[in-house]
Symmetry: C2
Subunit: 331 residues, 2 copies
DNA sequence: TTGTAGGCGTTATCAG
DNA sequence: CTGATAACGCCTACAA
């Protein structure tokens, strides 16, 4: 149906082997025939069939990217960065959203593996249940798995993380230095990243000898409505807090708005340094978790691993977080 | 390297043909052998090789999705919706970002076609240059192309649009009813969608006998900074305006903030009804362009087209826009 | 430098 | 109901 190497071989009076050779840049072809073949290929608009190539080589230069939900601005940004980077290295991107289907994410990675992608990159997706981890390991046996903001310490898996734990400690330190006593922490899920942020927060609280109050650590769904409702609830219950830290910018946006509505003009610090932080009024200070660096590193690992010499690829790559100060907090 | 139908055929003492049959759910297999084959397949962990299947069928159940930039919240949402819908119909998604590479987007669609995807969905991507359109048509000759918020009227192309032109007229009408005289319009690019919104705005202005002022129609880059700078510039030049309409929510967010800074508490209406509109204070009224409906329709077209009977698929599907009122504007 | 032939894993078309 | 066998398009030893 399409033009094949047979067609162009015939037209050039050579064998398909020769055509294949010029296609793969083999040096064992005379300049003359190479030129002719190239010429005819262009004339006929020949395009190699990726299926056929894939069958023999067991590779289609495709990388699977798995995230919770591209509609979320953070993951969207990550996917965009990964796509750009991978495309530069002639990899295509196959996208898969897991949704918040915790405990059943293994199936997504298995499904991706069945597609025979060359590598898989996951962003923040938790593989928490036992079966998840089993499927994850099984997959890694076949193809490399790069996890951004996760770390499973398994063979053929590579983790790229941002040290958000230290970042959160830094956040608490900055607030403590401003004499904040009762810091409200809002988060939604305990992914690898979520856990580390919470740990960092708690540790910061202890190090600065602030008292830990369970009612000031709140887990809620990641929506504006739930966040505003939470703040309303706390205000109604007269639970005091003099600063807000959140695991996601979107919480910070809503929390700040609700707090201001209650007359509380207090420091608010979000996380991810997304555009949302800049859309709020006042603009929101946010912990930058170096998404660009993380994605670049992940892409680099893929190219190394799929390249000729996959000699020394770091199993774990770590970046440090940064506090980006805006109106919602100044030292 | 992997387990093939040969392996399982051998183990079952049947031919590969039989195995293939149970694999494809053919009825012409005895219950007994079917059960046995299924059993052995499970035991050995057999997974069909998609390359081989693709080679024969010339289809890998993959749909290419092309957008300008997934990092943009609107496109991100679209990609998310498409991915969900397509996955439900057992299609994988191959993602491609063009970037704002206007005039050279043809190459992205050609590249996608070379991958032998089953269909291509574009979101808002403009194919403006002559070579772009040529490549687009060439691609459509091979595989169906569904364009969301575009319309090229070419064979084998299907367009799914939201009537944002009427939407914008509605917006102007609502503002005119509130006695706004000098409406500032901010936009960035003249894609299909961008053109129609601008047209709708202009037409609305004329219909309501408001005077058209060139200085009140401003084209700027899609950033918060540029938007704020624009408002500052207009304020400095003492150019009067008593309402703001924008082609994207992000403009509305920044414009409203800057306007408030200048003491202008005026109606602001954005477009896309994204989360950004809800992050601003006051929350922003926005023209909802029915992204969910658009994406669902696109997915539906793909399934129809790739299904058995591709008899009657509408060449053009149109939805109407809705005004979602929030604090930045009330009737 | 070039050609021949076998293999990659499935599907589909024949006969039986 | 089942089994051979020919595509599908490309790559790559092995020969020439």
């Amino acid at each position: 149906m399409n033009i094949t190497i047979y067609d162009i071989a015939q037209k050039c009076n050579v064998s398909i082997a020769t055509v294949s050779r010029v296609l793969n840049g083999s040096t064992r072809v005379s300049e003359k025939t190479r030129a002719k073949v190239l010429q005819v290929m262009k004339e006929m608009g020949y395009k190699p069939n990726p299926f056929a190539r894939g069958l023999g080589l067991d590779s289609m230069k495709i990388v699977g990217v798995i995230c919770t939900d591209v509609a979320d601005i953070f993951y969207a940004h990550a996917v965009s960065l990964l796509e750009d980077g991978l495309r530069k290295h002639h990899f295509d991107v196959m996208l898969s959203n897991t949704g918040s289907d915790t405990g059943h994410n293994g199936k997504y990675i298995s499904a991706m593996a069945d597609k025979h992608v060359d590598a898989i990159i996951t962003i923040g997706t938790p593989f928490s249940s036992e079966s998840d981890v089993r499927q994850l390991c099984e997959t890694a046996r076949q193809i490399p798995v790069i996890t951004i903001n996760s770390d499973y310490h398994q063979p053929n898996m590579y983790s790229v993380v941002c040290n958000e734990k230290e970042g959160m400690k830094m956040v608490v330190a900055a607030l403590a230095a401003k004499n904040c006593q009762d810091i409200l922490y809002i988060y939604d899920s305990l992914t690898y990243s979520g856990r580390h942020k919470l740990d960092g927060f708690r540790q910061g609280i202890r190090e600065w000898r602030l008292t830990e109050k369970p009612e000031l650590i709140q887990q809620i769904p990641r929506t504006l409505e739930d966040t505003e409702a939470l703040i309303d609830r706390l205000a109604k219950a007269a639970i005091p807090f003099d600063a807000i830290v959140t695991s996601e910018d979107i919480f910070a946006v809503a929390a700040q708005r609700a707090a201001l509505r209650h007359g509380k003009n207090i420091p608010v610090i979000g996380c991810n340094n997304s555009i949302l932080a800049q859309c709020a009024t006042p603009t929101i200070t946010s912990l930058d978790n170096k998404l660009t660096s993380l994605c670049n590193a992940a892409v680099h690992i893929v190219t190394e691993l799929t390249g000729k010499e996959a000699d020394s690829v770091p199993v774990r790559t770590e970046f440090s977080a940064d506090l980006v100060e805006r109106e919602s907090f100044r030292r």
